[in-house]
Amino acid sequence: MQIDLAHYHRWEGRLRGPWYSALAVTRATLRQVFRRKVFWILLALGMLNFLLYFALIYAGTQLPGVGDRIMERFDFTVHPDAQRRNGYLRFMEQQGLVVMVMMAFAGSVIIGGDFRQRGVSFYLAHGLSPWHYLWGKWLAVAVLLGSVTVLPALVLFVEYGMFTSDFHYWWENKAVVVSVLGYGLVMAVVLGAVLLALGAWLRKTVPIAITWTSLFLLSAAWSEQLRRTTGDPHWRLLNLWRDIRCVGRAFFGFYARREDVQLAPWAAGALAAVVLICVGYLWAKLVHWRRWE
């Protein structure tokens, strides 16, 4: 191929710090994820539930007769006594299933491919520390997760407020925003750390998907079996997904069982331990990579 010996031009400009560069890691990762059609399909599936809730709110507030029946089952306000019916909480928990499926397929694209095809070396050779790299990758997971949970939930909140007779709804129920953000943050931190660690370890889509699914399904089965055998509710803490829901629900002030009130701090501790183990593993892996690869 012929070389175009064009003149080389100098560039003068300001270079920003490495934390800013971490955002480039996020953007590049999301670009890689959304270049795969399967993620658009998963995102569309995730949005189906959102459209259902969107329609429910419309019907519940705008259609006389039908609306009352809907609102008997769903509540979109902050009522300490009606949190079991809280529409936002229900939406977040249902979207959690979509997140699980999406993350199972995303692990290899988000981080596994970097280890398989030496993308890690590319990032780390640009003056980024492992922390910057991990922060960028975690942000990508958080954006993916937030786009199917937190963002639609907040859209529903805005929608409900717009259909009510006055605008006080948003102010009076501002705790909903905090609750949704809190639940989303718990999911993003825990699932993000576990997914990144699994992705760095297993690298390929199929092993990641199998291990990811087993991790949540088997831990649920084992913890329930152990709780039944011993009668000790603390065994429930082994169920990672339940721990996430338990802590997430605490943001809404809702506990499904009485024992959950006592278990919530333990669940938070268990999740923190899992996150620490995953981050420690990722750190060791990246430092090892930087030295040897």
């Binding site: 191929m1 003149h7 560039w11 270079l15 560069s21 890691v25 953007r27 270049r35 993308g119 070396s121």
Partner: protein, 315 residues
């Protein structure tokens, strides 16, 4: 403009567990073009990683542009553009996105990085392929893409790790011409780490030869390639008896293809005049006496061999 050397290493040692990768080396990488050569395991990659701040040496001081590396590592690293030997492919990204991402990782803004990516891709000859996914690039184009990614933020120094690795001869020549042009136009310092000594001979003014984690030579390339005064090619007419006498006096003799030619390695203190005397005494007439020209390959092999046989020797 500050004229401090690109890097100065003082008694730097780096260990991987019990393995010593760099053994108390002191060296200076001057501005200009420097070839970094050595066998596998000589410590070249470790040295590059230390300069890039990816590794902290176990002992010793590293100065980059006159500043201690550990004091301003993140700032100094941005003055380097690194082209890795291994292909770090980020699948599904287009060429222009790959180069722009490199710029953003160095700290450029998104808009500037894309503008500059288009510019450097045009410069390295990939202007027409810039929207192609990275995984579809051929070997030669991938090397150019990596060079563009290293150039995007206009660094002062380019660290090139095997830039012509895996290229066919025309591709290699094209890459070397590109680098020559870049050195001339961009006025950049280049550290070229390669096994292909011909590339070093073509591009570099200085050379650092590493063997087993030690520096066996550092300095300008030209004196290294000067004619040797201890090895001569001789052709003669007459008997071979004079060779026997030379051998008895400690001259190393490598006979040539025909019976009237040989390579002579003279012991220290010998002059060419003495050769003529011995030849004359034994009835041989010398009609060719030429000092041996050594290329970088032979110099490298000689120095490496010497370092391997005597680990404490340092040129």
């Amino acid at each position: 403009m500050c004229e401090a050397p690109v890097a100065r290493l003082t008694e730097v040692t780096h260990r991987y567990g019990s393995t010593v990768a760099l053994d108390c080396i002191s060296l200076q990488l001057p501005r200009g073009t420097v070839g970094l050569v050595g066998n596998n395991g000589a410590g070249k990659s470790t040295l590059l990683k230390i300069l890039l701040g990816m590794l902290r040496p176990s002992q010793g001081q590293v100065e980059v542009f006159g500043v201690q590396l550990h004091q301003a590592a993140s700032t100094l690293r941005r003055r380097f553009g690194y082209m890795a030997e291994a292909d770090a492919v980020l699948p599904l990204l287009q060429g222009v996105e790959y180069v722009a991402l490199s710029g953003q990782l160095y700290g450029m803004s998104r808009r500037q990085s894309f503008r500059r990516a288009h510019e450097v891709l045009g410069y390295v000859g990939l202007g027409e392929l810039r929207y192609r996914p990275v995984e579809q690039y051929s070997r030669g184009n991938l090397q150019r893409l990596k060079l563009a990614a290293a150039l995007v933020h206009d660094p002062d120094v380019l660290l090139l790790d095997e830039p012509t690795n895996g290229l066919d001869p025309p591709g290699r020549d094209a890459m070397l011409r590109l680098l020559e042009d870049l050195i001339a136009q961009g006025q950049k310092s280049v550290v070229l780490c390669t096994h292909l000594l011909g590339d070093v001979q073509r591009l570099c003014e200085h050379v650092v030869i590493l063997a087993r984690g030690r520096v066996v030579y550092q300095g300008p390339l030209a004196p290294l390639l000067q004619l040797r005064t201890d090895q001569y090619l001789v052709r003669w007419q007459g008997s071979q008896e004079w060779l026997h006498h030379l051998r008895c006096q400690g001259v190393q003799i490598t006979p040539g293809a025909n019976g009237s030619q040989a390579l002579l390695g003279l012991p220290s203190g010998w002059s060419t005049q003495r050769l003529f005397q011995v030849a004359q005494q034994h009835g041989a007439i010398l009609h060719t006496l030429r000092p041996v020209e050594e290329d970088l390959q032979s110099v490298f092999l000689r120095l490496s061999e010497k370092a391997n046989s005597d680990p404490k020797a340092e040129a």
